[in-house]
């Protein structure tokens, strides 16, 4: 028995697939792989599958992670080979290793592509101070400063605007969806692509 950690990408058209749909798709991928999958106990057993962090719809991921269990010891390169054969288009199996510890995520690196007239310098100034956004919850709307949750890393000009990178909080109970950064910038930008580059522990 072994717990396996898989690093994979979820790119292109897969951005339109929700987290729940991805979960189901991964379950089926595991079944297709022919690997001896570990199942949960209980009335309705399902593969023990644990995705590190959800991605919202319209977001892509370059180095996403999930853990699953196999009930026999199988060389990792064979596991990788079988997973690759069962993977779907837009998903690349990047790395397969034995899982070390729980998937306790802390932060994530995001790359956001904006269409904007702002220069990189102007953009940097905007996101360097207080960043007030409206967060919706069941208790009603709330004004929150997200600047402590989103660390600006870089901004580079592109043909139509700017590509910016942020390090955002990404713990289970302390997660910042980078869509809030776009909300903060408001009319000045149009967010056209959101890519999670990496997940940090």
């Amino acid at each position: 028995m072994a717990d396996i950690r898989v690093c994979f990408s979820k790119m292109g058209r897969l951005q339109y697939i929700s987290h729940l749909d991805l979960q189901r798709a991964l379950n089926r991928m595991l079944l297709r792989s022919g690997l001896p999958i570990g199942y949960s106990e209980g009335f309705n057993p399902h593969p023990k599958l644990n995705i590190a962090l959800p991605l919202s719809i319209y977001q892509e991921g370059e180095r996403e992670l999930f853990d699953f269990r196999i009930t026999e010891d199988i060389p990792l390169d064979i596991v990788a080979e079988k997973l690759k054969a069962a993977a779907f288009t837009g998903m690349e199996i990047i790395n397969v290793e034995l899982a070390q510890g729980k998937l306790a995520t802390k932060q994530a690196i995001w790359r956001l592509e904006f269409i904007t007239d702002l220069t990189a310098e102007e953009f940097k100034n905007l996101v360097s101070g207080e960043m007030l956004v409206t967060k919706r919850s069941k208790k009603g709307d709330k004004q929150v400063d997200i600047s402590s949750m989103a660390e600006f890393l870089s901004a580079a000009p592109t043909e139509k605007g700017i590509t910016a990178r942020f390090k955002c909080n990404a713990a289970g109970n302390d997660y910042l969806n980078p869509a809030y950064i776009a909300q903060f910038l408001g009319e000045k930008v149009k967010l056209v692509r959101t890519i999670r580059e990496n997940i940090l522990f």
């Binding site: 749909d21 079944l31 297709r32 837009g90």
Partner: protein
Amino acid sequence: MTDYNKYAPLLEKVEKPGRYIGNEFGSEIPNPETADLRICFCFPDTYEIGMSNLGMKILQNCFNQSGYISCERSYMPWTDMRSQLIENDVPLYALESGDPINAFDIVAFTLQYELCYTNVLQMLSLGKIPLLSSQRGESDPIIIAGGPCAYNPEPVADFIDIFSIGEGEEALLELTDLINNCKKQGASREEILYKASQLKGFYVPSLYTVEYNQDGTIKSFTPNKAGVPATVKKRIISDLDKVRFPRKCAVPFLETVHDRVMLEVFRGCIRGCRFCQAGMIYRPYREKSPAVLNADAYESVQNTGYPEISLTSLSISDYTHLRELIDSLLSWTDDKKVNLSLPSMRIDNFYEELLEKVSSVRKSGLTFAPEAGTQRLRDVINKNITEEEILTAMEKAFGMGRNSLKLYFMNGLPTETDADICGIAQLGQNIVNTYYSSKRGGKGGVNVTISVSCFVPKPFTPFQWEPQDSLEELERKQQLLKSEIKTKKISYKYHDARVSRIEAVFARGDRRLCKAMLEAFNQGLMLDGWDEFFSYDKWMSVFEQSGIDPAFYANRRFDIDEILPWDFIDIGVTKKFMKLEYQKSLQAQTTPDCRTKCSGCGASALCDGKCICDGGVSNG
């Protein structure tokens, strides 16, 4: 191939973009750019419904295995996506390549129910294809259609170039061969349609002329060109084991209606219920062998990763080799944690044994379809099931710990009286009583759901001449039943009678209804199968504007000798048999199932007499 980035601005404005992106595992197709012939297979309802259709999977696979065809898919967009397509002036596209559907050689529709007709027109329009066959030019795709509703193609005859009647696995490849050759030779559209009419199993509506009597009935229905056959004979596959079953299908990301491996065990039905169109048009009864089915199932699970297999056929307990099939499936499904689901399973000793033996057989909801509330009416419709049989089965089910079941009935059946309606409530009550007097395994109370639909007379059934009850009468009966149900253990559901009335108009319609279809399109009707869009008032306005009397089609008793709009189609089962069955029904006389005794319906002629009744399938 179109770059999908082009659609990103549209996709980010719709609720479920996953419907419009294809790219599912297993959805790979032959390269569209090098294929001789390109087909876009359209399902005229949403992605979730269309992806649940086995027929479409089978046929797409047939085309893509042919070696020269590249066949893609498209579905009816939801209203949000439809608006996006229109606002951005983007034509409806096929999911695999993203190319607009009007760039294809052939656009094919499957017609599964009457209420999808408006979606066919919507999809053509969104694809920037002229709606009327007569308006299409040499550069437009050829529009073909098939499926159960094609057995009365007349209400959509003006919009479809070629109809495929019957099972398509072999016939459609004959048609694509023909079209491919014609295109290579530079033949005109007119020539292609004419040649298609010569193929067995194809109907080209523009090559027939209909004349009407003063009273509105059909006076004559005749080919208007020499060489065009007067009748079109349905096509069937005689050996189901030899036909290609798609063992690798696209596995949707979204949750669809039937999201599992669907295993087609047999075609046809031996029962002969007199209201049931499927039971007649899919005759003769043909089975697949258990070995082939087991291999189909095994490879399908390997290829898709689905954790569930559903045995789909009209009445699965009728399968001769059911025990053998289930044993061979269970020899590997348990290991793989794959569930078996057996809808339409009779509750008998075998079922009981099965549930006890294996955990992987899913306890899907218990359903029964007595269809009518009294023995007299069940005899009229030839539903050969007695109340005693129902109650015995219930007792067994209760003994196994089940305490929830669903019963299906129909309102407005021919000869129905108020006593028959009250009989439905009584049967429900008797089941509840059975529960409380039985040795039951489960705790708590019982829950019986009575679900009642409205009878819609369908072409190619013994009841094809019968009128539908008036809307008022159907609604009165629904309320009568409501007042007859005295216990809270029974929950009562019924269909919207107004929907059933529109179905009845189109089910027995002729080609004059094409005018109403066009008017419905102009008034923006679509997605009629969805409660939030169906509007009876709009339909009434459509009929008024187009000079159509809906009662002429829905509520008129057709004369036994009049020419029916679908008479030119030969389904194997003869009109003589239908008439005989109709007469027997009015005297509440039953007809035994095909395994017990051959009734001479005529369908065996389609397979050289090798039907179940002649020892083609052993009685098991």
